[in-house]
Symmetry: C2
Subunit: 351 residues, 2 copies
């Protein structure tokens, strides 16, 4: 069976992006929204048409809004496969169990694609290209439904990963929701800080609070949907925090806690899904003007050095910037020697 | 008076880097260490010589080790000005008050330069170039001592900033020590996570825990030295965490807390010490191979676009990478149009 007709309920960033991506591959798409203006805008963007007997109906709306549409959509499309795209996966299954739609026909999914901002205006057909798209099917799920959803994910250029729904929610509570909350809690401490203090902010504070700038309404919904798992994780953090407070008078106890954090950090996998990888860091002072970064990357390309990651740090009141490249150890040594020899201001390599 | 003779007690990264920087500018340096092998290594690196009547004696050792050397150094060098380089500033003043050295001759300082790793081997004479170097003089401090230390900082290419010592310690408790601790506490939660969960780690988790990889022994000493200020800050975080735990059943309460974090994050100043600046983000999918970044930065230079910051994200199991450039709004629009027109895979601009 080939994918030809898809109905999408909800014309936000994800729904409209799916519509654009499928349209581009010749799949007919019917994109609807409860808000008439949103629907008209999204239909203009995504060449949506009314269609009957969709093979898949996608719930591309907040998980808490699913109960408002499940029974209506099932009555309209009694032969279809249904899927959702929420970032928490046990709650949609509960909604389906409380509806008339049989579990056999529902596939819970979670595309791991940018959701920092919403709205059809931000939609893009290639939003899912190279991204992971998680499926958390129940035991009842029909093979045919799973295959159809797999074909849709494939059509959009994403990679399907299958997980248990409860396992998924526990995993994202730790890997996605926890960092959002600790970044927000850390940043909350800056609200009452004196302005002069913030002039001392370095890269550590910037990195640690970067995602505190995320959309509060979107995150309120995500956190609320996964509140049980998040609660467990946060009690763990509170326990760690109590340990740190008790350790403050004992340097060796502080050291043990910081070391435990280092072991946790080292477990995050490196690129390409491989095991954790330690980069070597090469700091370079550059003039803060166009062309400097290009010149450095040209030198990297010339001697075949692959930059794994990098950061740029601007000193307050200075027109210089410090760029730090993350490299393999041998690339770092080669590049350091090469750049120094042609006059760049290269600092010593850091492990 | 011109700076000609400096004695440095402690041949770690900071002490040896100061020695290298001063030697390069023709200042005679005497670098000593309680460990004979360390001293010999550092003296080889930094061209140290024995000298009498140093104008400045620098305590470049852990703050808790200062009481072991203050009286000896004062007896040896009764005419000198003294300074320290610790990252906490009230504690060294207490050590001086408990010694024979008069407060008039002591300048507490804190160079804001890389201290992720220690050791003379990592030292570099330009470590302080473009960096801030904080002075926290007491009311008793002699003008002549302050001027000498100012000349030293100037010679090393750093910018002097004067702060009250207690104010400094409160400021770094929030801007430097707090992010280290919350990064470590977040990363501690990963220690017991299943391996499969960590495959779902995205840029948010990576950013939020990056500094959890810092040296535990160094941070134990820093945190211990500033434990009173840090304790106040951590009780604030615990209070915020309790509020989040109480809010988990109420989406609007969660939203208010995430929004408060966003307001705190927005207070971190932008580059060049100016007020906070909102960047526009331009995501681009590239092949993960040498030359791709150079090509993008060449295009940036060609059309005069200045890259403010960037991140590189590797999808698990993929050979593509997503590079996100932080730009001014107009630069983002120009670059997006330009790169798209010559075939790059540019994603929609994000605010």
């Amino acid at each position: 069976m080939s994918l030809e007709r898809v109905r999408i309920v909800g014309a936000g960033l994800i729904g409209t992006s799916i519509a654009l991506g499928l349209s581009a591959k010749g799949v007919a798409v019917d994109l609807i929204d409860s808000d008439e203006r949103t629907q008209n805008l999204a239909r203009d963007i995504a060449q949506s048409t009314s269609l009957s007997t969709p093979q898949i109906v996608i719930f591309a709306l907040p998980t808490e809004a699913m109960p408002l549409v499940i029974n209506r959509e099932y009555a309209l499309n009694p032969q279809s496969t249904f899927m959702d795209v929420g970032s928490v996966k046990t709650e949609p299954i509960v909604h389906i169990k409380n509806s008339e739609l049989p579990l056999t026909r529902f596939v819970p999914t979670h595309p791991m694609a940018g959701r920092e901002i919403g709205g059809a205006r931000s939609a893009r057909g290639d939003l899912f290209v190279t991204r992971s798209w998680i499926l958390t099917p129940t035991a009842e799920c029909a093979t045919e439904s799973l295959e159809l959803v797999g074909e849709l994910i494939d059509t959009l250029g994403a990679s399907a990963i299958t997980l248990d729904a409860a396992e998924h929610d526990r995993a994202v509570a730790t890997t996605s929701h926890l960092p959002q909350i600790t970044a927000s809690l850390t940043a909350m401490s800056l609200e009452s800080a004196k302005e002069a203090w913030l002039e001392l902010a370095g890269q550590g504070l910037r990195d640690t609070t970067r995602i505190a700038a995320s959309d509060p309404a979107l995150w309120a919904q995500i956190i609320y949907s996964n509140r049980n798992e998040i609660s467990n994780v946060l009690y763990g953090v509170r326990n760690n925090l109590e340990q740190m407070l008790l350790a403050l008078n004992d340097p060796s106890a502080i050291e043990a806690l910081i070391a435990a954090g280092g072991r946790g950090r080292a477990r995050i996998p490196g690129k390409h899904g491989g095991s954790a990888r330690e980069y070597t860091f090469l700091p370079i002072v550059i003039d803060d003007k166009p062309g400097q970064l290009a010149a450095i990357f040209n030198e990297c390309a010339t001697i075949g050095v692959n930059v794994e990651d990098l950061s740029i740090e601007h000193s307050p009141g200075q027109l210089n910037a410090l760029i730090t490249l993350a490299l393999s150890e041998s690339d770092a040594m080669n590049l350091s020697t090469h750049l120094s020899s042609i006059g760049w201001n290269v600092h010593p390599v850091r492990k």
